[in-house]
Symmetry: C2
Subunit: 365 residues, 2 copies
C-alpha cells in the first residue's frame, strides 16, 4: 500500500492510499476554496454525565447533490471535486464540514456553575472506498476491503497521536433513509476528545465483569454466543458475527475477533483478511435480506487511546433501522426519552434470516 500526502486548496489534508504504485499523486486542487472557520464546541451535560458536540457551522453542508455534482468522484476536466486526481483506490481527507477539528475558534468557558464548554478539538475524516460512484462496500471484493481495513488501522494510529484525541471511531452510514447526504461509497472517521458514552458504558460493564470473574466480558460473550449457536450468522478466520441476544435494532450484527485485542492496529495479517472477508459477507447478507441496498450503520468499537486498553476488546457493530421491506424503525418516546429500545424482530429470527440471505457475490477478487 502506497501513501501519498497532499493538501486541498483550503488547507485540508488528503491522503491517497494506492494498492499499487500508480505513479505520483500530485494533481493540485484547482478550486480555490476559502478556508472555513469551524465553530465547534463540546458541552458537558451534568444530568446525563456525557459530552455533546455543538457544531453550528454545519447547517449549510452539502445535501444530496445530483450524481454529476458528486464531490467524492475523481476530478475530471471541467468537474473539480474533493479529489484532485483523475482516479484513486482509497482516499482519506478532512471533512469540509467537520464536527471536530484541530483548531476550532471557540474558547473554554463556564456556561453555568454545572456546565462547561470546551473547544471541539479532534478530527473528522472522510474515507472514499472506491472511485466508482455506484459501488458499495459489500461488493468491492475482499482485496479492496482489506485495503480499507489497513486504512482504518493506519488512521487509527495517526489520529491517536493528535493532541487531545481520546477515541478513534471509523464508521460508515449508508442509505438516504438514515440521512446520508452523499451516495458515493464512503465512510467517516471521528477522532473524539473524550471516550464516547457508549464505550464508557461498555468499559464499565467490562470492569465489573473482570472484577468479579477475572475474565474479559467480551471474550465470555463470544464464547457464550458460539456455544449457544442460535444467533451466530457467519464466521471467518479469527472472527465471528452474531446477532446480540438483546439486539436493539431489527437487524443487528456484532463482529468480534476471537483473540482479545484492543483495536484495529493490533490485528495480525490473517485477522485483517478475516475481517475483510466477514465485513463483505455480512454486508452482502444485509443487501440480500430484501434484495436491495439496505440502509445501515457500520462502526468500529475500539479501545480508547489512553485508558482501559487492556479491558477493551475490539468489535464492530452493524445495525439497520429497516424492519420490513417498506418500514423503518423510528426512535420514538420509549427509545429517545427512556433509552428503552423496543425490537419487533426476535434476535433468533433475524439470525435465521441473515443466515439464509447469502446475497449476490462480490464483484472483485
Amino acid at each position: 500500500m502506497k501513501k501519498s500526502f497532499t493538501r486541498l486548496s483550503d488547507g485540508r489534508e488528503l491522503i491517497y492510499y494506492d494498492e499499487s504504485d500508480a505513479g505520483p499523486r500530485d494533481a493540485p486542487d484547482r478550486r480555490d476554496l476559502a478556508p472555513l472557520t469551524t465553530e465547534s464546541e463540546v458541552r458537558y451535560d451534568p444530568v446525563m454525565d456525557e459530552w455533546v458536540i455543538v457544531a453550528s457551522h454545519r447547517q449549510g453542508r452539502t445535501y444530496l447533490p445530483p450524481v454529476e455534482l458528486c464531490p467524492l468522484c475523481p476530478s475530471r476536466e471541467g468537474r473539480l471535486t474533493e479529489i484532485p486526481e483523475p482516479d484513486y483506490d482509497v482516499v482519506v481527507f478532512e471533512n469540509r464540514f467537520p464536527s471536530l477539528t484541530s483548531d476550532p475558534c471557540v474558547g473554554e468557558s463556564e456556561l453555568t456553575a454545572l456546565t462547561r464548554r470546551l473547544p471541539g478539538v479532534g478530527r473528522c475524516e472522510v474515507v472514499c472506498f472506491t472511485s466508482d460512484h455506484d459501488g458499495s462496500l459489500g461488493h468491492l471484493g475482499q482485496s479492496r476491503v482489506r485495503t480499507i481495513v489497513d486504512v482504518w488501522a493506519d488512521r487509527t494510529e495517526a489520529l491517536s497521536r493528535l493532541d487531545g484525541v481520546e477515541q478513534v471511531m471509523p464508521f460508515e452510514n449508508r442509505g438516504d433513509q438514515i440521512g446520508v447526504t452523499l451516495s458515493h461509497p464512503h465512510g467517516q472517521i471521528y477522532a473524539y476528545p473524550f471516550v464516547t458514552p457508549r464505550m464508557t458504558r461498555k468499559l464499565a460493564s467490562a470492569r465489573r465483569h473482570t472484577d468479579r470473574t477475572g475474565d474479559c466480558l467480551f471474550c465470555a460473550l463470544v464464547a457464550a454466543e458460539l456455544a449457544a449457536e442460535a444467533r451466530v450468522v457467519s464466521t471467518s478466520p479469527g472472527w465471528v458475527a452474531f446477532v446480540p441476544a438483546a439486539a436493539r435494532w431489527p437487524y443487528e450484527l456484532h463482529l468480534y475477533p476471537l483473540r482479545h485485542l484492543p483495536d484495529l492496529p493490533s490485528l495480525n495479517d490473517r485477522e485483517r483478511d478475516g475481517l475483510a472477508a466477514l465485513v463483505g459477507d455480512v454486508l452482502r447478507r444485509f443487501d440480500g435480506l430484501f434484495g436491495d441496498p439496505m440502509p445501515y450503520i457500520l462502526a468500529v468499537q475500539q479501545a480508547p487511546v489512553r485508558q482501559d486498553r487492556a479491558l477493551a476488546h475490539l468489535h464492530l457493530e452493524l445495525t439497520s433501522p429497516r424492519r420490513a421491506r417498506s418500514k423503518l424503525k423510528y426512535l420514538a418516546g420509549s427509545e429517545t426519552a427512556g433509552g428503552v429500545f423496543i425490537n419487533d424482530i426476535l434476535p433468533e429470527v433475524a439470525a435465521e434470516r441473515l443466515r439464509a440471505a447469502a446475497g449476490t457475490p462480490a464483484a472483485g477478487p
Copy 2:
C-alpha cells in the same frame, strides 16, 4: 373529573375521563375482537447493562390508516372504533399492540450464561386527548391540558400499583416524520418492569451530586439556568422551560417544577395549572418555529416507583429532530454507535428563536 371504567370486546380496559358528568358511559364495544396473545419479553444486555424489549407480535400493527378509518375517533353508526361511545373528553385504554402487558406468554429463561430473558410484564396505554381528529395537544386550551395532566397523574398512581412496575412514563409522539402511525391527537403511557436506562443515568448523576454537595442536582440546574437567563424560554406559576446547555436535539426544551417533587401525583393544584399552561405554551412555540405542525416527542421523566424517590426531581423533555424547514436530524454513526450527539444549532440560538415564536393562540379556554 368523572371516571368510567369499561372493557373492550377483547378484554382490554378502557377508562373515560369526563370533565363534566356526561351521563353513563356504557356503550358496548360491538366489534367482537379476538383476544390477542402478547409475545413480549425483556432481555438483559450485559455489555450496555440495560434491558431491551423484544415484542415480536407487533409487526402487524396499524400503520397510517386513512382518516375515515381512524381507530381513535369516537364510534358512530357503521364505523366502530376503539372508543365505543359517540363522544368523549379524554379516554385511556390498553394498547391493542402492547410492548408490555400484564400476562405475556413468555417464560423466564437463560439465553446464554450472560443474558437472561424475562416476560415483558408491564402495561402500555393509549391516551386520546380529544375526540377531534384534527386537534393537537398544544391547541386544546388550558382546561383540557389540565385534565390531561390529572389523567397522567391518576394513571401514574394506578400503574405504579401493578405488580412488577418500576417506572411510569407518559409521553406523546407527534408527526409522521418520527414514525407516528396514527394522526389523531393522542399520547401513550408505558409502565416498565425496570427503571429506564436514561432515568438510571440521571439518578446516578444526582446521587454523585448529592453525595458531594448535599443538594439536589436538578434544583441546582434550575437555579443555574434561571440565573444564566440565556436559555430560558418560558415560565408559568411554579414552572420554568429552558433549552438545556448541552442540548442534543436542534430544538429541545426541558420543563422543571421549581419545587423539588418526585412525580406528577405530587403536584399541587396550582402546579398542575402551571404545567398545563406551560405545556400549551411550549407546544405552540414549537409549531410557531416554522409555521406548521412540528414533529416532537414530549415525555414525563418522573421518579421510579420504589427506588430513589427522594433523589428524583420531576421534569418533562420536549425534543424535535427537525433542524430546518425541510431537514431532519438523523441519528447516524456518531449518535447510534458512539452515543455522541452532534447538534447543529447553538442552544442559545434555539432559545432565542423559541422565545420569538409565540405561535397561534390556543382554541379553547
